[in-house]
Structures are given as C-alpha cells and as structure tokens.
C-alpha cells in the first residue's frame, strides 16, 4: 500500500514543470483548487468510486461542474488521472503542487493560533520575525483558541513554534511530577 503523497508526487511535479514553462503558476493553482474542491465533495467521491459509472461519465460530470474554470490542459490532466484511476487523490496532487509552488516562489503560509485576537501591528511583527527565521515571504492566517490561555502557537509547514501558556503549564506539571 503506497503512501498517497508518493502517488501524488509525480503528477504534481509534472504539472509544476509545465506551469513553470508556460509561466502560469497562478492559473494552475486556481484550476487545481477548483478540482480539489469538486473532488473532495462527498457525493463526488461516491460517483468516482462507483464501479458502475464509466470514466467518460465522470469526466463529463467534472466538465459540467467546473464549466469555464477548466481549460484544455486541465481537461487533459483530468483524463490522465481518470485513465490511471487516480481521481481520488486529486486533493493530494493539488496540495503537493502548492508546496512546490511555495518553494519556488519563496513564500510560505503560516497559521497563528492565539488565545486572544492578534492586532495588525502584532501580526506584522510576527510576519517580520518569521521572514527572518525562514527566509521567505510569509502570509499569515489567524485563529483564536481560548483553551491556550495565553501566548501563541505558530505553524508554518511542518514547523511549529509553541509559545502557548497551556503547553508551558503542561511542561511544568511533568517536571514537578518527576
């Protein structure tokens, strides 16, 4: 049983090199985001995995839903995925493509989770600090979570900086309990 990310990687790399050559990374991002949205839908998944439904029927369904969002190349990609039976991993392909794009453009998405809402200046200083640490442009999304009690947790890709009061209290508990 191979990992989904292993299966998605060749597709994402192929699309990326194509997009790079054509210089339309943004367009492909949008196309893949649309396809991901559609392919993640519950009823869509049922249709895809249904053995009674033929490939042509699935493809025409996709075309109808996406309408103008899908051009010829997008359609080709969809046909290829259907041929190899990889329609289910389209969300994973989209994610892998985003990672490659972010790597290339030197940008990264960071999520800041805090106990209390972060104001604009704080957000800016966090972005600056992250830029210095990671060497990339950072786009920040914020979220509040009261259970943190204080401080922030910053997630960027695989890296996490945990400065929340909740975690510190847990650490103290463990060190006192020995």
């Amino acid at each position: 049983m191979a990992e989904i990310s292993t299966l998605a990687r060749p597709y994402a790399q192929a699309i990326f090199s194509l997009a790079l050559a054509d210089k339309n990374l943004k367009a492909w991002s949008d196309k893949l985001a649309l396809l991901k949205e559609v392919a993640s839908n519950g009823s869509m998944i049922e249709v895809i995995t249904n053995p009674d439904v033929t490939d042509e029927q699935v493809l025409s369904l996709f075309k109808e839903i996406c309408k103008d969002g899908l051009d010829e190349q997008g359609m080709n990609f969809l046909k290829l995925a259907a041929e190899n039976g990889r329609l289910e991993i389209i969300p994973a392909i989209a994610d892998a493509f985003e990672v490659l794009r972010a790597e290339f453009e030197g940008s990264i998405k960071a999520q800041v989770i805090s106990a209390y809402a972060v104001n604009a200046t704080q957000k800016k200083s966090i972005a600056e600090a992250l830029k210095n640490k990671l060497g990339r442009e950072v786009t920040i999304t914020t979220k509040t979570d009261k259970s943190l009690l204080g401080g922030v947790i910053i997630r960027a890709g695989d890296m996490v900086i945990d400065g929340s009061v909740k975690t510190q209290l847990e650490k103290i508990t463990h060190s006192l309990l020995g």
Binding site: E3, T6, D158, M159, V160, D162, K171, S175, G178
Partner: protein, 513 residues
C-alpha cells in the same frame, strides 16, 4: 525526620521559579497509524535517524524507519493514550541517557529513569546511547586481570580488563550465577559494575538486586532493568543504555564491568521491532542486521589508551588507561551452539565460558566445560602466581577428559593412566565452588598449589571439598600474613613456593578433614 509543610511548598515554589521557559521551534508530524507500539507518522521533515520524538502524554519514541513520506517510530513505553491524528514533535536529541557516578547503587530502566523508589537521580551529564566504538589507535592491549573469584574461571579461562567473554549455555546452567559472582567479587577492586537485565522476570531481577545488596556489592553497581513486561523497544535499547553508562567510566580512566543478561532476548526484541516495522526477515526471521546489533554493542567494550582518556576528559585525567569489560550472556536451546545468534556472538567475543547441563546435573558447579571454554586473552590477564600454578590445571583436565571413558575400568589400567585419571578426578572436585563465595587470589593460589604439587593425590575424591575447606581455614588462621602478601603482590618466587610447601605439608601432617 518530618518534612515541614512550608518546606515542601518552598521547594515547589523554587522549582517553579527556576523552571526554564524555553520556546523552541520544532518540526511537527501527525500519527497516521499506531499498531503494536509502532507509530507511522506523516510530516516530521527534519527528523534524524534514532532521534527522540515526543508523543502526547510525555511519552517518547525513537524514529527508526525514515522513508520518503512517512516516519516509522517505536513508542518507548505505554501507547494506549496515543491515538491516530495526534501531533508529535521532534526533540532534536538523539536518544540519550543520564550517566555519572550518581547512578551507582540505583536500579534504572532503559531510559535511565529510576525504578527503585529511592528518589530522582541527580545526573549532571547525558550521553547518546549509540556511539561509535574507539578506533584502532585509541585502544591498548589487555593485560590487567578481572578477578571473578571463581577458581575455574580465573585459572582456566581468565578474563582481562577490556575483554569480552561470552557466557553461553542452556537454561538453568548457572549463567547468571557466574555473572553475579563476578560482580560480588568487584566489591573492593575498584571496578564499577553494570548489570543489564533484558527480558527477564521482574522477580528474577529483584532477586539479583537483593543478593547484591546482601553482599554489599550494590554500592558500586548500576542495574539497568528491562523486564519481560517492558515494551520490545525498551528491551532492544537497554544494553546500549548500559554500555553508555559504562563508557562514562571507561573514558575517564576507570575500569568498569558490564554484564548483558541476556543478549538472546535482546535479539528477540529487536526481531519483533523489525518485523513490525516491515523490515524484511532473514534467517530464523531475524532482520538482516542482527549481527551488527551485537557487534556494535560489544565493540564498545575495550581498553583505551591513556591518550584517549586524556583527550576525552579534556586533559583532566592523565596517565591512566580506562577499560570496559563485557560479559554477554547467551542462552542456547538444547546445547546448540551452531544456531544463528550464538555463532554470531561467539565470533564477536574474545572467548567463551561454556556451561553444560550434564555437568551441572552431575554436581559440577560452576558447570564449565573446560574443553570448549576458551579465553583468547589468556595468560596475559592473569596474576603471576595464578598463571604459574593454574597452567597445569587445564592440561590435567584435558588429559582426564581424554581418558574419562576408561575411568570405569580404573583398576585394570597401567600406572600412568591411572594416576592421570585420579589427578583429573581430584582437580574436577577442586574446581567446584559454592555460589556467592568468591575466592581471593591467595585462596585460589593455595588450592591450585595443593593440586599442582600433588598434595591432593592421596586424599579420597569424596573428601576433596572438605580437605580444601579445612586447608583454607588453616591458612587463614595460621598464615594470614603470607596470604595478604600474596594478595597484594600476586608474585610467585622461590620463597613463596617454599612457604606454601611448608604450610601445606604441616597442614596435612597435623590436621584432619
């Protein structure tokens, strides 16, 4: 002495105040599957091989399989509270354990946590459990003895400081007994001992600890316990943890002795972990690197030169060599020394002590088979007196073994054959020793002297043990200064020979046994 309630709260207050609030950036991952103590993790892009991974609930794991899209890790401990979807973090530290003198006298688990209820361990240093063994230039040849206190071992298969001597035999042949006797005899020798118990019953480990305490040997011993109820991963790393604790002493110019009891169970635990990690099985279902499992462990037991010690201690200790002696134990099935793991370990170690069930059952304990047991260091690691007097013992036993079949027709044989058989029988009786009664060098010298010089030849075989006991008592009572002289110098010259001759002759003529 009661602790004041305010003292307790002051203690807690100071611990909280001094708590180091560091915020680090870690790489995070998600548990994708968790079966039988093996967690498959997605993410963790910066993980190192063998790194400690932190699971929720203050549990740790070790990253063993680094694949392109997932990390396979073993959970070191209980895993019931971990579920799929949990976040795990890298710690940036390769698996390490506390080391130092503060561990002496304590019973710890494979990660160095105390399990004897005597409070936390104040270890100033930690050290990684996987280390490369000293190189060729850093080593020095073995020429100092480790006195085990067992006559048959010290006379026939002597062990030196820095040697690896395998103790191999079937179940219930006295392997642990040999090891424990060796530890008890190091009470005053300055050698620090480490007893690593892998996969044994917790009651057996408790019994060993009790015995060591009874004989006062626990104060310079560390017990690393990974009983059968521990996770397989803990049993797998326990010998490496013990070895790291022993290397601490070796690298500061001191001597240490480590006993791995036993490596068969560690190989089983490693096999379990490898099969669960989907590594391909080889012979006897062991993974392909089961040889490397033991070789990298046993290569770390060595004698190191003074230069190495000086470099390792940053110049603080000069002119002293350090050593770590290893006594691994392997359990064979039905005496089969040609099975996979026994042959592996025999080829790694510098000799073996082979214990046999038949000998054990016929009353010869320690049940050492003198023919198959060997020490590749040999005489270089014996005190002078034992070397001189013990040299003939092996030969006598070898000749006896050759003629053993004829022992039943003892009356029909020629003089020479009969005397060899009789000598062999007496020497075999002499090599018997009760448990927990180690012999000093002088005591051993007396017994070997009596055997080699023929003083036993006219004593009945059945009375040899009594004869020896009476002789030892006599020497202790009447020649204590000669005994202490031998103990201190270990020399053997004409004067000592004459003194011993006179003493034993006097004993034989005057005493009864």
């Amino acid at each position: 002495m009661q602790l004041n309630p305010s003292e307790i709260s002051d203690l807690i207050k100071s611990r909280i105040e001094n708590f180091d609030v560091t915020i680090e950036a870690n790489t995070e991952g998600t548990v994708v599957s968790l079966t039988d103590g093996i967690a498959l993790i997605h993410g963790l892009s910066d993980v190192m091989s063998g790194e400690m991974i932190e699971f929720p609930g203050n549990t740790f794991g070790m990253a063993l399989n680094l694949e392109r899209d997932s990390v396979g890790s073993v959970v070191l401990g209980d895993y019931k509270h971990i579920s799929e979807g949990d976040k795990v973090k890298c710690t940036g530290r390769i698996l390490e354990v506390p080391v130092g003198e503060s561990l002496l006298g304590r019973v710890v688990d494979s990660l160095g946590n105390p399990i004897d209820g005597k409070g936390p361990i104040d270890a100033k240093e930690t050290s990684p459990i996987e280390k490369i063994a000293p190189g060729v230039i850093s080593r020095q040849s073995v020429d100092q003895p480790v006195q085990t206190g067992l006559k048959s071992v010290d006379a026939m298969v002597p062990i030196g400081r820095g040697q690896r001597e395998l103790i191999i035999g079937d179940r219930q042949t006295g392997k642990t007994a040999v090891a424990v006797d060796a530890i008890i005899n190091q009470k005053d020798s300055g050698i620090k001992c480490i007893y690593v118990a892998v996969g044994q019953k917790a009651s057996s480990i408790a019994a060993v600890v009790r015995k060591l305490e009874e004989f006062g040997a626990m104060d310079n011993t560390i017990v690393v316990a990974a009983p059968a109820s521990d996770a397989a991963a803990m049993q797998y790393i326990a010998p490496y943890s013990g070895c790291t604790m022993g290397e601490y002493f070796r690298d500061r110019g001191e001597d240490a002795l480590i006993i791995y009891d036993d490596l068969t169970k560690q190989a089983w635990a490693y096999r379990q972990v490898s099969l669960l990690l989907r590594r391909p099985p080889g012979r006897e279902a062991y993974p392909g690197d089961v040889f490397y499992l033991h070789s990298r462990l046993l290569e770390r037991a060595s004698r190191v030169s003074a230069d190495f010690v000086e470099k390792a201690t940053d110049g603080k200790v000069t002119g002293k060599t350090g050593s770590l002696t290893a006594l691994p134990v392997i359990e064979t099935q039905a005496g089969d020394v040609s099975a996979f793991v026994p042959t592996n370990v025999i080829s790694i170690t510098d000799g073996q002590i082979f214990l046999e069930t038949d000998l054990f059952n016929s009353g010869i304990r320690p049940a050492i088979n003198a023919g198959l047991s060997v020490s590749r260091v040999g005489g270089a690691a014996q005190t002078k007196i034992i070397k001189k007097l013990g040299g003939g013992i092996r030969l006598d036993l070898a000749q006896y073994r050759e003629l053993a079949a004829f022992a039943q027709f003892a009356s029909d044989l020629d003089e020479a054959t009969r005397s060899q058989i009789e000598r062999g029988q007496r020497v075999t009786e002499l090599m018997k020793q009760t448990q927990y009664s180690p012999y000093s060098i002088a005591q051993m010298a007396i017994s070997l002297f009596a055997a080699t010089k023929g003083y036993l030849d006219d004593v009945e075989v059945a009375k040899i043990v009594d004869f020896e006991d009476a002789l030892q008592d006599y020497m202790k009572a009447n020649h204590a200064d000669l005994m202490s002289q031998i103990n201190e110098s270990g020399d053997y010259n004409d004067d000592i020979e004459k003194a011993l001759d006179d003493a034993v002759a006097a004993f034989k003529s005057n005493s009864s046994w």
